[in-house]
């Protein structure tokens, strides 16, 4: 087990924390927080997939500075921009999902007067 694997393991740990909150918690708000943690974990994994360093150099952002002269160094050393673009999209999606979840949670609170999912059990069988 080398150190470079450590960020992945931590991201996976975060994933498990999020899943645990969704499965084990009864409070709607805590479930929403769990889903948010889950999203962060996936976004982290995506960013890690694109990350790389060249030995002896600082990690380079995929931004072209100083005109085309910089381009070979950028291609050789910069982190992969594509997963970052994916993460941006994914963040927007999770924002809308979270907004919908919070709206649902509030509506449920109006109906039941509680955030406890154990007491929202009309549907069974």
């Amino acid at each position: 087990m080398t150190l470079p694997m450590l960020p992945y393991l931590l991201a996976l740990l975060l994933l498990v924390v999020g899943l645990y909150a969704i499965v084990a918690k009864r409070n709607v708000i805590k479930i929403i927080v769990g889903l948010a943690i889950l999203d962060y974990a996936v976004n982290l994994i995506l960013v890690l997939v694109g990350y790389r360093t060249t030995p002896g150099a600082a990690p380079m952002a995929p931004i072209l500075t100083g005109g085309m002269a910089n381009e070979p160094a950028l291609v050789a050393g910069a982190v992969d921009p594509l997963p970052q673009a994916l993460v941006l999209t994914s963040i927007v999606i999770s924002l809308s999902v979270t907004a919908l979840l919070v709206a649902l949670g509030l509506r449920l609170y109006e109906k039941y007067g509680t955030f406890d999912t154990e007491r929202m059990r009309n549907l069974r069988g």
Partner: protein, 535 residues
Amino acid sequence: MQKLLPLLVAIPLAGGFLVPILGRLTGTRRGAAVLPILMVAAVLVLSLALLAGPDETLVLWIGGWEFPIGISLLADGLTRYLLVIVAVVSLLALLFSMDYMRQYTSPSLYYGLFMLMLAGMNGVVLAGDLFNIFVFIEIAGIASYALVAFGTEADELEASLKYLTLGTVASTFILIGIAVVYNVTGQLNWAKVAEAIAAGGGPSMPLYVAAAFFLMGFGLKAAMVPFHAWLPDAHPSAPAPISAMLSGVLIKACGVYALARVVFSVFGGSEVFGWVLVALGGASMVVGVFLAVGQWDFKRLLAYHSISQMGYVVLALGAAAVMQARGTSEAVVALAIFGGLFHLANHAIFKSLLFLCSGSVEYATGTRQLKLLGGLGRKMPVTGACLRIAALSISGVPPLNGFWSKLIIVLALVLGGFYTLAVITVIVSFVTLLSFAKVQRYVLGGEPTAAVEQAREVPAAMCLASLALAVLCFASSLIILPAVKSRLVDPAVRVVQAGPPPRAKAPPRVVAAERPGAVAAQAAVPPARLERTSP
């Protein structure tokens, strides 16, 4: 022709925003359905034109940006087949909504969400890369979460919360799968991913991990047992036309289609994947039907049958993959795939008809508890007749469409040597018949109960939508004729059967051995375009 592909997504997407705005400006309630119906009719015409066109794979690189910069829309046989099914069911569900949705407030918001869901589903089947499949699944998903909660009563909200939570977990799994695939192959375009995997001599260990995440994610979306917990809550809680859309097409486009695409076209349907699909499908088929028998809520019963019937489709596809790996003759493999895809279309028809009928019954009587209903066969002759046709069709009674597709699946299983599975399939079909005998007995038969005294036949548009689907229950039996089959279904069957591109045609693998490989692929990008590589 491929210039028209974006319209299939753009028209409903524009509708998703135009319809609520126009509804707000004009303040119309009844007229809110006009624009959506016209738009979906246009989508249907486009889809039919695609299906009638020559059987070739159309690829459109959006904005003229070619691989590896651009993103693509792709229409092959499987896509066209799905597009037509989605458009037909959507149009009839909209027609039904015109009168049905008068029970609810803000119809223009409803139609806006409906169009958004349609845009998402069309996008899923057209998307040429894995990440856009994820994005469109989320678009369709978010619209459907909101539509399930559209009644905003306690039950609807609770069902929507459950659906939303599990749906988000599913899409998270899908995204992890995409991340792993991208890490290993350096590609997102699924055709290129397939080439990279084939060039590497089949899936490696990390790719099996990705496949496991995909199977869990799409399995949740398709409500395969053991990932089915949300479906029996979510589908009955939605307004009836939305139940028809969810059970009829959403679980197919976002679940089964995506599953089939990833397993067959990307990873290649090996024996391992085949058995996993057989297990998922078989379990769904059996568990779904036995849970359905005990239900007394009309729509909940139908929802459990959706799980069971989708089990047939996945089982047939999985069996086909196993047969292919074992070297069974290509004709039998094609028969199994044909059975699965044929049943997928049939299920879209008869299950949406059943949900529309349950909506008509609820509209007329105000209840969907089977024990409170009775004698509706005489009170509502049109709905009653449609319900009978749909019930016979799902139970597999000849000469309706459900019989033929189940027959083909059983036939393919026997020819492929899966005798036990064939017997189970037949038994499940009998239990389905039993369950729908109960539905007919309690809804249509007997004396009118107190709840149905005031019941009258539903408005003409609702009857028309049901009748059209009932006619389709008969008409789609014609797919069994070789002339019709070769035109409509065979292109889709060929896509599933062909699997990923053959190894010989694969280009040299662009993936560098060191992590992360993707930048190496982008080194090939002309310098002038480098700053535009992000989508």
